[in-house]
C-alpha cells in the first residue's frame, strides 16, 4: 500500500484527508468508518454558548443551496468535557477549532484547549461571517499578520 503519511508539525497523519471543521464529526460514524480519515477537525467552539441562527437555516435553489447556521456551539467547557472524549473514541489525531472576539481571548482559549487529547488547534478567524463590528479577523491584514 502506498505510504500517504503526512507530517504537520510534530503530528503524523496516516493520510492527508483532513475534512474542514465540523464537516466529518463523530456523527458520521453512523454511516462510515471515520478512522479512515487522516485527522478529525472538530466543529468550531467559542468560549460561551452560542445558540446560532433561528430556523430556517437552509434554502434549496435551482443553482444549489444556501445555508446560514450562525456558528452554534455549546461552549468550551462542554467541548472539553463531552466532545473531546467523544472524538477520542476514534484513532485519527484531533484538531480542535476555536473562535473568539478578541486577540487576547484567542490566546486564552488556545491555552484552555491545549489539553493532551487535542493534538492540534485550529484558529478560526473567518467565522462567524456576520459581525456587527464590521467583519471578522480574516478581513483585516493587520489582524492576521504575525
Amino acid at each position: 500500500m502506498v505510504d500517504m503519511t503526512v507530517r504537520i508539525g510534530n503530528v503524523t497523519l496516516k493520510n492527508p484527508i483532513m475534512p474542514a471543521s465540523g464537516a466529518f464529526s463523530t456523527d458520521l460514524a453512523q454511516v462510515m468508518d471515520v478512522n479512515r480519515l487522516g485527522a478529525l477537525v472538530a466543529k468550531t467552539v467559542s468560549r460561551e454558548f452560542r445558540i446560532g441562527n433561528p430556523p430556517p437555516r437552509v434554502a434549496e435553489l435551482e443553482c444549489g443551496m444556501i445555508n446560514s447556521i450562525g456558528l452554534p456551539t455549546k461552549g468550551i467547557e462542554y467541548f472539553l468535557s463531552h466532545q473531546v472524549p467523544d472524538y477520542k473514541r476514534f484513532t485519527p489525531p484531533l484538531v480542535g477549532s476555536i473562535s473568539a472576539q478578541t486577540a487576547d481571548d484567542f490566546e486564552a482559549m488556545t491555552r484552555d484547549v491545549d489539553v493532551p487529547d487535542v493534538d492540534v488547534i485550529e484558529v478560526n478567524i473567518s467565522c462567524p461571517t456576520r459581525n456587527p463590528g464590521g467583519g471578522n479577523f480574516a478581513m483585516h491584514e493587520d489582524h492576521t499578520s504575525t
Binding site: 500500500m1 465540523g22 464537516a23 466529518f24 464529526s25 456523527d27 458520521l28 460514524a29 453512523q30 454511516v31 462510515m32 468508518d33 479512515r36 466543529k43 445558540i51 446560532g52 433561528p54 430556523p55 430556517p56 437555516r57 437552509v58 434549496e60 435551482e62 444549489g64 443551496m65 445555508n67 447556521i69 452554534p72
Partner: protein, 287 residues
C-alpha cells in the same frame, strides 16, 4: 484483496454485506421499487426491497431519500422520510407520503423496477416501555404514517393502542386499516369539526379516565401536540413527539434541521435528524 476505501451504495439483491462495515448502523443503499401506488389524490404508498441494515429500522427512525427531479432543474437535497411499515419477512420497507413539494413530486415519478437511493436508518426512534399496557397515538395527515410502526410494535407486545386519526375529510384519513388491525381507531375530521381541539381533548380525557393512556405519541399537528403536551403534564403521562424539519445532510454535522426545545426553563435548538426526530413531548416547544 486490499482494504476497500471507495464508498459505493449497497445494491439490494446484488451486493454482499461488507464485514468491514458490519458495526456501522446506517448505509447508502439502492433499493428496487416493488410497488408505488396513489392512495388518494394527495398521498402515495411506496414499497421498496430493503437491505439487512435498512430492515433494522426502528419505529420513528427515518431514511434520507435521493428523489429524482420532477422538472428540468436539479434537486440538491435529499428528503427525509419516516418509515411507514417494516416487513422483515418479505425484506421490504414502506413509505407513505404526501406529494407536496419538488422532492416528493419527484419521488412520485418512480415506477416499479426503478432504483431508489436511500441513506439510513437514521435518527432516534420511539421508545416503548415494557410497563405500559395501553398507549394513545394522535396524528394528523401524513403524521399518521410515522405513528403506524410504533402502533404495530406495541400491539405485537400485547399493548393496547387507541389511534386518534385527524384529517380534513374521511378520504384523507391515512392508514386507518393498518391502525384498525392493531387497536381502536377514532377518526376525527375537519368537515364535521370532530377534529376541533375541544373534542379531541374530550376523547383524551375519557381515555385517561378509563386508564387507557399510559403513554402519548403524536406527530403531524402543532395544535394537537400542544393539547397532548398540556394533558400529559396535567396527568403525569409520559409523551413522545416525532418532529419534522427541512434537512440537508440528515446525519448531524450540517446543523440545518433545528427546532426549539425548552429544558429547565432554558430554550435550546436541537437537530431533528440526530437528536430526534422523536423527542420528549414536554421539551418540545412546537412550530
Amino acid at each position: 484483496m486490499g482494504e476497500v476505501f471507495a464508498s459505493a451504495p449497497f445494491i439490494v439483491g446484488k451486493s454482499e454485506p461488507s464485514p468491514i462495515e458490519a458495526t456501522i448502523p446506517a448505509e447508502e443503499a439502492l433499493c428496487p421499487v416493488i410497488s408505488h401506488e396513489w392512495v388518494n389524490d394527495e398521498y402515495k404508498h411506496l414499497v421498496v426491497a430493503a437491505s439487512p441494515k435498512a430492515l433494522a429500522v426502528k419505529p420513528g427512525q427515518f431514511f434520507n431519500l435521493l428523489c429524482p427531479s420532477p422538472d428540468a432543474g436539479e434537486l440538491w437535497l435529499r428528503r427525509p422520510q419516516s418509515v411507514y411499515r417494516i416487513d422483515g419477512t418479505c425484506g421490504r420497507i414502506e413509505f407513505l407520503y404526501k406529494s407536496v413539494g419538488r422532492g416528493t413530486k419527484g419521488l412520485a415519478t418512480l415506477k416499479k423496477g426503478d432504483m431508489l437511493n436511500i441513506v439510513g436508518p437514521l435518527g432516534i426512534g420511539f421508545h416503548l416501555d415494557p410497563s405500559w399496557r395501553h398507549i394513545v397515538v394522535l396524528g394528523r395527515g401524513v403524521g399518521l404514517a410515522t405513528l403506524a410502526p410504533i402502533s404495530q410494535l406495541a400491539a405485537g407486545y400485547g399493548v393496547g393502542v387507541t389511534a386518534i386519526l385527524s384529517a380534513r375529510s374521511r378520504d384523507l384519513v391515512m392508514a386507518d386499516d393498518l391502525f384498525a388491525k392493531v387497536g381502536t381507531v377514532v377518526p376525527v375530521l375537519d368537515v364535521d369539526r370532530s377534529s376541533d381541539v375541544e373534542n379531541v381533548e374530550r376523547i383524551l380525557e375519557e381515555l385517561i379516565a378509563a386508564d387507557c393512556a399510559d403513554a402519548f405519541f403524536t406527530c403531524g399537528s402543532n395544535r394537537l401536540m400542544q393539547l397532548m403536551k398540556r394533558l400529559a403534564r396535567q396527568h403525569g403521562i409520559p409523551g413522545q413527539v416525532a418532529m419534522e424539519q427541512v434537512m440537508a445532510c440528515g446525519l448531524g454535522p450540517c446543523y440545518v434541521c433545528v427546532r426549539t426545545f425548552e429544558v429547565n426553563g432554558r430554550k435550546e435548538l436541537r437537530r431533528v435528524c440526530i437528536e430526534g426526530p422523536v423527542f420528549d413531548l414536554q421539551e418540545a416547544v412546537g412550530w
